[in-house]
Subunit: 346 residues, 4 copies
Amino acid sequence: MTRVAVLGASGYTGGEVLRLLLAHPAVEVVQATSGQFAGKRLDYPHPSLRGMSALRFVPHEALEPCDVLMSCLPQGGLIERWARVRELASRVIDLSADFRLDPTDHERWYKKHPRPTDVPEFTYALPEWTASQLPGARYVAVPGCMAHASLLGILPLVCAGLVKPELVVDAKTGSSGGGATPALSSHHPERASALRCYRPVGHRHTGELENIVERLTGTRPSVHFSATAVPSVRGILSTVHCFAARPIVDENEPLRAIATAYREKPFVRLIRPNTSASPFPEPGPLQGTNYCDLAVDVDPDRNRIVVNVAIDNLVKGAAGTAVHALNLMLGRPETEGLGFRGLHPI
Amino acid sequence: MTRVAVLGASGYTGGEVLRLLLAHPAVEVVQATSGQFAGKRLDYPHPSLRGMSALRFVPHEALEPCDVLMSCLPQGGLIERWARVRELASRVIDLSADFRLDPTDHERWYKKHPRPTDVPEFTYALPEWTASQLPGARYVAVPGCMAHASLLGILPLVCAGLVKPELVVDAKTGSSGGGATPALSSHHPERASALRCYRPVGHRHTGELENIVERLTGTRPSVHFSATAVPSVRGILSTVHCFAARPIVDENEPLRAIATAYREKPFVRLIRPNTSASPFPEPGPLQGTNYCDLAVDVDPDRNRIVVNVAIDNLVKGAAGTAVHALNLMLGRPETEGLGFRGLHPI
Amino acid sequence: MTRVAVLGASGYTGGEVLRLLLAHPAVEVVQATSGQFAGKRLDYPHPSLRGMSALRFVPHEALEPCDVLMSCLPQGGLIERWARVRELASRVIDLSADFRLDPTDHERWYKKHPRPTDVPEFTYALPEWTASQLPGARYVAVPGCMAHASLLGILPLVCAGLVKPELVVDAKTGSSGGGATPALSSHHPERASALRCYRPVGHRHTGELENIVERLTGTRPSVHFSATAVPSVRGILSTVHCFAARPIVDENEPLRAIATAYREKPFVRLIRPNTSASPFPEPGPLQGTNYCDLAVDVDPDRNRIVVNVAIDNLVKGAAGTAVHALNLMLGRPETEGLGFRGLHPI
Amino acid sequence: MTRVAVLGASGYTGGEVLRLLLAHPAVEVVQATSGQFAGKRLDYPHPSLRGMSALRFVPHEALEPCDVLMSCLPQGGLIERWARVRELASRVIDLSADFRLDPTDHERWYKKHPRPTDVPEFTYALPEWTASQLPGARYVAVPGCMAHASLLGILPLVCAGLVKPELVVDAKTGSSGGGATPALSSHHPERASALRCYRPVGHRHTGELENIVERLTGTRPSVHFSATAVPSVRGILSTVHCFAARPIVDENEPLRAIATAYREKPFVRLIRPNTSASPFPEPGPLQGTNYCDLAVDVDPDRNRIVVNVAIDNLVKGAAGTAVHALNLMLGRPETEGLGFRGLHPI
């Protein structure tokens, strides 16, 4: 059994990490930290853990050595504790943006990185694209949720040379991506009917998308990213509007490129025409799962290729990918502990 | 492996039965029938089954012999086919009301039962109360969803003699209980904001509650039942208003009675004060699970005891109980295939 | 024009009071106070006021004399300022519970009333029942929202002597009743799927219902009140379960009693059978209106009479009744400024 | 009083037309037709009309001469009846796509127009842009709801020459746009959590946008349009991604262009920075109103200009614009009967 501790475990990604790890056959959760809930049982803030564990939260400072540490601290929390944390665990998986971007991009979108020389030690965990780097990785950075969904749509087409490096990404997201801390904009009467493009320009995932596409393909694209809040709790739908690099002759070429990219990938499901009563990628039935559903459509008259990508922001977009990376790091079966396939209707 | 066929498998309870059985380690799903979707793959109407099975629906008439048959046909469908179905499987689990009530009550709330002598062959599957009858049962009737939730709140107090046999049950339900067939009242623009007491009196579960409480306790109560549609898809909250049989001296007596009744019952969780940031039974985090959360409150000044009971209508209220009963019938571990503990937030 | 000031105008009831008064043909809004938003325009927190007024919030302390003062301060706020406020306006309408209950009940459900001798100066504004007292009233207390809805169902039957003085009231409410201040329980991810009986016993509206029914009918009933949060923002559905005082012979008697009680009342609409494709009182299509829809059902076998009452908690349950009372106090047409009839679908 | 008849008045746009006209001071509703509800009162399918009218639906065939006819028939319904309808009323306002597009575009996106020579008789009612043509218009075509919202964002920038004629329009819509007829995709359990890009390419409003922008500006753009269903009933948010025609030097230029375009337009509200606690255009608080809220954002590094436009699809996107056009045709005040300013929270 791999002994895993979870740092910052009382928020929403922390709750999902605990839910997955407590049911994982190869893992023992040895500690979970929380400032706010230290001393309380794990199920105190997380009703979905009722009856799963007798463990109680400890303060962040009480963290002891373990095999793997997963950090669900908010932005900046791991950087701040990095000197100490790296002494406690030989392997660390971070779910924040602390070590995702190259220092130059980090400075542009967040702030000057206080530990730029540590950044290259981290592997960016996009398992469908960087799986080969994970077995040996010591430190892993889990992608941002909207960046993750969008990359899964962008990369097959960019890699196949089918599209121009100028993309419009219109991402729609539920409220849980904003975390567990109350605020006026997430107060239920204000948020329940929200359909608001809360970040039309300047969203940080713009930087993550441009940085990672460049890192993985060699070409830095212009990503025109907007984020819209929709009236749901879990789930992201990222609509990636691409423009064909050359006139579209074969309308099935994009579909084939995507099918090829994800042929052996257990968590990505390409929805083909006429195979479903509801043939659109939707985050609803993906809630709780590590699956990504996607579909591609082509407008040959206007040379546009549209990829729609749906995930659960808290699982495939966070905790599930952390566990997926852990499986790869430990040499376990890729899907271990990630078998849940979602609910319908919901 | 027990070979199970599912009759009427394209609706919502059928989808949940398939979801649970396809992941069940001791079961092989051998056939699934559907009038509407015959020839289509199981995941055509059920996106949560994507990638789980290559099976296709067959027409009801194509049903072949199997070990256990689960029927998710609508009301009246199994009665109509009973002569043939009982030849195909030695064990049958029915999720409709066809064989739930004693013939007298059936006639009063549905219509004259065409096969009254077959009714006594069926065991009513309320596992927390009738588990001992299930191992040997050939034919099993799964309770109605709102009746099931309400019974779990009523029975401990009635059995302990704490309350009068006159109860007000105010049940709240999501839209999935109405099934998968579109209608004006379930058209999204009409139903999305619905908060409507659609059956203030005369709901059939009144009869089920009175019949089953009498069968299990010997006392026939008056149940004052109302059903209210709320703006959600899955889940039932049943608020059971009881009146103490004698003045309340010890406010903890109802809590103890309920705790005793469910002490060894893995799927019923009594929420005790101060153990949760959200100490109320709610169906939200129970979606997809076979769990029942309940809590009890006492107003000693007015002699009222209130039990709130939350379940997922499609799982604990239907498919999960069917699988729970199957486990007991087959001598398998009670919780096999029913381990999912739900999501939060959702 | 009557010059009206609104005290505590940045919350949800304050916003509705402003919305109604700014469009009222006989009223001029002269001041609106807010601690948090002093200096901001009225539409800063209230998007529905965009373009309606150039007024800005002033601090509570900046309040000047006016003809009528409406107070939307939270519980206790008006009591605290009463000595000063009564000097500023000859007529005051309070939307809190500060002066609703008799001092004995106030002490029991809130705390010892610091100004018990001022309480009798207030008229309880339940226009369908106390309209005759309003023209001469100087000080007016607007009912609590769930109490208001429930009283509209209870009073006709109690007054007609049709029901026992022991009632079960199961009220369902949206999130806006909790006010505009964020909290964990109203954080969107926590509240969006909530179906929780958050106050099964001990809700303060129990005391208001018992107090007011006694005041208006002479009989103090036992009210068994529970409040359940449902996944919506606006609206209350109160299900009043009554028991017939004597065996029900004429099933239409309750309907006639209610129809008689509200015959000349413009804001109460009794839904009769077969007059609507959706014949249930629902708060959805009442959003923004001062209307109350109700229906009555009878179970003669169990001697139960059920009244379902729907209102918008912020209008009929608060701001609309305040304006309704103002109209009666000023001798204006009863429905002035309250003509909006709601939206469907919504 | 202008005598208006409403053809096809039992659907959602019909209900909104009736709601607005029944409260309009210069209009008398003389007839309302319905196939399904002939003989029933207007409030039978439309609860928001309770108490507003004693009129009953008549069959389409019973239509008599009137001053103005408003047609809410589904696509193709008015074309089919045009020969007869034009004899009954000298002025006709159509809310379908029957006479919106030039015949060439109509054929491409719908089917060959059976009455191409009648099309030029119709004025396209986009009041902020075509108001001058409406006073004399006999026949008027109301824009499609998503096209309408998008045009309000596109036109100021195209007319000012600020953007390239290649636009990505990502429109999000509630379920009421699909009409009142039940279907599987709008069945509440299927639609409640829907976040689905149901028409990534090939949506008919693509054609309407290209046709109308060309008609009004002389330049035919390429419009890359996608439509996404979100979990709400009313409302559209159209996100218009534009690319600056030349490098952006002055970031305020787009804002000024839009402000200038709508300076005297009572129903379009440009949300400027720092004027609201919720500074994003959102359809929620616009429900029931004829207002359009919009905002503009600029990414100078990537040369993108984003306009977000929110409307209520059934009002500004249909019935409200019909009434707005009627006011202009009749020489009435532009805002008459359209004063409702929406609700918050909702």
